[in-house]
């Protein structure tokens, strides 16, 4: 059985939302290409949910436009928009059965009765909810409720699917399972989606592209790889994964890359630079660093703390009194354990993906 959905892109143009004097969303423009999933990522209060709610039609933009496909929908009431939202709390109607919940949108559209039955059955099957039709939402587990919410959103054949932190009510294990399920269904249907989350790992694992927001502004948009390897600024570098940010000095720069002096060592940046300051900042990801025993070739350092989480041993080491770096050693072997306070050698990577201007 294949279910096809007509889908369309989302374009947001210069969108602004003021709450009194506060600019919750400040002049955001972004595009979600047809069939892709874009994650809106950012700390709480960054405006990502407000942006999503403006696309769904629950907040009235102060200025700017929203398009779905070629249609402008900025002033269209939520019930006439071709969007379907999966809510953080699922928002399943407590006074209706699972079946009635899923059928709700179809009935609101006055779809013929037998057609409603067919459509609902199809999505109950797709979401593996057989046998739960008569139950009330409160009798279901969190994961099942999530699937009902998804079925209810999909059954109306929206052009665009919106997710508002849909997994935050689930426990850690289920969260990982559900996100791959959401991703699978989204790709299976090829439906354009916008997904709000504050969890960087979730955003990276599910999104074709990630739009990172801060204080109402869109800071950087790109593939997870781009955001991680080439952060636009310090905020991105720090929000996307753990990072050590150290000062660097550009020694030489040309179209092929640059030579940067970092902590006394010269590293190569293979990407052409965007600015031309001599003094820059360099992001050293913890997993790009490694440790060896004292006296090796590298930077002498002292172990401050060690936390062993299982797959990773996380060290903080100091080079001087004010430069403290985090080092992650994946799958640490017996010779990679160092006692607190012991002297070690810190190895920097020879290549760095980018520098912060």
């Amino acid at each position: 059985m294949t279910t096809l959905i007509t889908t369309a892109s989302i374009s947001i143009k210069n969108l602004t939302k003021d709450f009194g004097a506060v600019k919750a969303v400040n002049d955001i423009s972004l595009e979600v290409e047809t069939g892709t999933l874009v994650c809106l990522l950012g700390p709480s209060g960054c405006g990502k949910t407000t942006t999503l709610r403006m696309v769904a039609g629950f907040e009235e933009p102060t200025s700017g436009e929203i398009y779905i496909g070629n249609e402008e929908i900025t002033d269209v009431p939520p019930y006439s928009r071709p969007t379907a939202l999966v809510f953080q709390s699922y928002a399943l109607f407590p006074h209706m059965s699972v079946y009635d919940n899923i059928a709700y949108g179809l009935r609101a559209r006055r779809v013929p009765k037998n057609e409603v039955v067919n459509q609902v059955q199809e999505f109950i099957k797709l979401m593996e909810l057989e046998g739960h039709e008569k139950k009330s939402p409160s009798q279901l587990s969190g994961g099942q409720q999530q699937r009902v919410a998804l079925a209810r959103a999909l059954v109306i054949r929206p052009k665009v699917l919106l997710f508002d932190e849909p997994l935050s009510n689930l426990d850690a294990l289920l969260r990982v399972r559900m996100r791959s399920e959401i991703r699978r269904i989204q790709q299976h249907l090829g439906i354009t989606s916008m997904y709000v989350t504050h969890d960087q790992e979730e955003a990276f694992s599910i999104g074709d592209r990630v739009a990172l927001m801060n204080k109402g502004k869109l800071v950087q948009m790109g593939s997870p790889r781009e955001l991680y390897r080439e952060p636009a600024d310090r905020f991105v570098a720090e929000f996307v994964g753990l990072s050590n940010i150290v000062p660097g000095e550009v020694l030489e720069s040309n179209g092929n890359g640059a030579e940067v002096k970092v902590l006394g060592l010269t590293l190569h940046c293979s990407r052409p630079r965007r600015g031309n300051n001599r003094q820059v900042a360099v992001v050293l990801r913890p997993e790009a660093l490694s440790l060896g025993k004292a006296g090796d070739q590298g930077l002498p350092a002292r172990v401050l703390t060690l936390a062993f989480t299982g797959p990773v041993a996380r060290y903080t080491v100091s080079i001087t009194d004010d430069i403290v770096l985090t080092v992650d050693i994946a799958n640490p072997g017996p010779d990679q354990f160092f006692e607190q306070g012991s002297e070690v050698t810190l190895h920097l990577p020879k290549e760095i993906p980018s520098v912060l201007e």
Binding site: L4, E71, P78, Y79, L85, P94, V111, R152, I156, R157
Partner: protein, 632 residues
Amino acid sequence: MARILSYRQELSDSQKRRFLFIALLIAELAILIFIATRLIQVNTVVDRVEVIGNQEFTYYKNVLIGDPPLLILIIIGLILPLASRRIRHEPVLLVTVQVIIVSLIVFVFWPLAKVFIEAFKSEYLAQGFSLIQFQKLLTKPSVWKAFTNTMILGITTSVLATVIGTLIAYTLTLTNLPGKKLLRNLTILPLLSPPFAVSFAFIMLFGRRGLITWDIFHITGWNIYGPQGIILVQLISDTPLVILILSSVFASISRNLEEAAEDLGGTPFYVLRTVTFPLVTPAILTAGLLTFISSISDFGNPMLVGGGFQMLATQAYIQMIEMFDLQMGAALAMLLVIPAFIAFVIQNWISNRKSYITVTSGAVTGYIRQQPTWIKAILYSITTFMAFMTVLLYGSIFVGAAVNAWGFDYTLTARNVTGLLTAIPQIKNSLIVSVGSGIVGGIIGIVIAWLVSRKNFPGKSVIDFSATVMLAIPGTVVGIGYIVAFNAAPYFWTGTFFIIIIAYAFRRLPVGLRTSVAAQKQIDPTLEEASLDLGASRLRTFTKITFPLLNRAFFAGVIYIFIRSMTDLSAAVFLNAGSTQLYTVRMFRVMVTGTPSEGAAFAGLLIIIILVALAILSKLTGKSFIDLFRIS
């Protein structure tokens, strides 16, 4: 088989929406023109006749009947919501907001404004601005005295009721007094009945021929009629309100806060002064101001036990109904509404700031405090005395109804109960009015609650305020306001069921509104959003999602308004007419002119009707008897 389906109405029907919007505007314009022709009527009357020679010239002039200012206000009310882009795009929302704004203008703002307008007129139908009513007030010491009397009495009652009520609330929530539950129910009981039933029972017990003062103790020099009597009966009928407000606040104080203070080195008294007391102060002030409003608005009690003691509410009634001086009545009503309104604004301001008291989820609350024995003894005796008084007063009503002539002849008889049969028309009238106002008020309440708690639109705070302001308006003022606004052409509404129902519905709107807002807050707003998002219209969302989840609150609001309307006297005396005479009005006449036992039978029946309504309400909401009153 691949299927391509999209049930979304394609966006091309934005034209359809535009068409609908224009059709709606045309329909509204037609309705507006109709209203305008009703509101503004021009009568041609003979101005003067001049005789020049043998020719007689008759001059005519056009006289305007009606309310052009009201029409202008209605037009403003219709246009205002159009300012919002979003509302313009949603016809259902647009019409709802317009209807609410216009009805608040017509039935809340306009009658109150008319009281002020009328108070500054020199006589009926006079034009222009005049201070003559207030000059008359100042020259008539008896009337002016009514103002100072009302204020002094209001302050005395509210201070006493607040102190006693706070102590009782503390006893009932934070001590381990035996029989707390029963005592709680008993002390709240006076909220049930019309306030003047308390003063009537009071007279039966403590009057000149009272059971206790005459039959038991044979006291002769005692006089209950006068300010002392009013204060005593108001204490009994107003203290329950204080107990309710303070009980819920005492119960919600987190024990953790006090423990933290003690842990940081505070002695018990220091903690009481620096933590416990500041936490309850806003509630105490709120309760004090509400009892002040209740006391100065009281009409029935001063009429019964005032014994010639002048009060504003009673004076306004006498000027208006007995002296037919509409303007003087309005002037007195104005003097009454200003302090009540000020108290309301302060109360509103305080209770909007006290948000810290509610942040107690998960905390230990209702912890039993240890007190020294002598404090316990005082608290216990005040509380049990109050409960005992309630039992005595209500007992005397039911016993009184069963005896021949209370105060003279205590032989049992069914005469008084069968005498109620003559009141069947009034019972019917009261039921029609109370059920009607319950339903109207409930519906308006639920819609306004939905608007103010979910929607954002220009003028929202004004709607919220005007819907709750009636809480501060004494029944007397409502009655006078509706008379001066709607008595004459082109309305002639006074004495009709319609106007009584509307008056009660809007008067008790704050109660319906609060129950609905409270229930609304319990519902996750995303449920409605989910419905809209799935393509259900505003109307469908309201009928399929909002209302089913709110219906208990809705019926609770309906029954509250029903009870309040059944027991109202102060607005009823102005608004009812012969054919629409209400039960409380008849009951009041019987209490004044009949034997105490006849009056007791009337009061007893009303209490039973209310108890039945409450039982239904309790069943509907699944709440206990006390919790039902929490919101009122």
